[in-house]
Symmetry: C2
Subunit: 182 residues, 2 copies
């Protein structure tokens, strides 16, 4: 039986493999998760993983590619916002818009930055530009530095949320918005 995911036709078992792999990679780490473990969790044979995804790395690549739109959909709303104050406000509250369903995907993103040293600097470039422009329009002295600060905040807050930190993330977002008089 086939399913359509992100306009891609895949079998039900492919879907299950991806879901299981995402969950286990996010929870335990890429290297610490064996393909045998993924197969068992997905209730398929280990061979099927290699039939569909080529190798373990291909499996990870598929997960990340399928999740690409999650990143884009968070960013596009901010980048396309014309009102500079709204750009900043939306950026500050960006992490609050992460769907709990997608926590595993985001957690994996953070994990991979350290485990596989995948850099995401480039992905954030449009957001950095949008923020710089916003601060510039609002007449801030050093718009690029302000933008970098917001990016650091987003990274830290996102990190805290996904780690299940004690920090009251929502409170922090409101507080920062207030500091920028938004």
């Amino acid at each position: 039986m086939q399913v359509i995911t992100h306009s891609i036709i895949m079998t039900e078992k492919q879907e299950k493999i991806l879901q299981s792999a995402l969950g286990l990679f996010a929870k335990e780490g890429y290297h610490a998760t064996s393909t045998n473990k993924v197969a068992k969790h997905a209730c398929v044979s280990e061979g099927l993983i290699f039939r569909h995804f080529g190798n373990k790395e291909g499996l990870l690549t598929s997960i990340l590619e399928l999740g690409e739109n999650k990143i884009k959909s968070l960013l596009v709303d901010i980048v396309m916002e014309p009102d500079p104050k709204e750009v900043i406000r939306k950026a500050i509250f960006m992490s609050a818009r992460i769907d709990k369903i997608d926590y595993d995907f985001w957690k994996l993103q953070f994990k991979l930055k350290w485990e596989l040293e995948v850099s995401s600097d480039k992905k954030m470039e449009p957001l950095k530009m949008a923020l710089s422009n916003a601060f510039n329009k609002l007449g801030y002295e050093e718009p690029e530095q302000e933008a970098m600060l917001i990016l650091l905040f987003i990274e830290g807050i996102g990190s805290a949320i996904l780690k299940g930190s004690n920090m009251d993330a929502n409170q922090m977002m409101k507080f920062l918005a207030k500091k920028y008089k938004i």
Copy 2:
């Protein structure tokens, strides 16, 4: 031949094992580094690792315990500072005080937070308290939130430095210090 490291007598080969393991764990990750690889890098037999450290986890534990004072020595200077403005300034510039020699250790700390989900919330508690007190003394409305913001900044900046990010960390620290009129 024996050496004294942190008041602990250990053989030259123990020292080499620890150095090699630290470097490889920091660079490639704990799970992605085999004990055979550590042994080869240290120019010792694999059996010697288990002779001295019990098991792979024991090796990691030794590295972290020996590095404990690096964390404390960064924090104690800030926590013991009486002048509230100086507390904040020192906290902002804390990451600049990390010795390049110790980058591997700090990088491993960050990596482990994600790879093994080791939480360091507790370690930062004294710093958070010191910052809260400082902002309180300076009459800030919400000292705890301000303290949390600085902690997020430290985390983000430290992370950027250790990842070799393009960000001008020093410039960012100066900028934030300026925002807090320090």
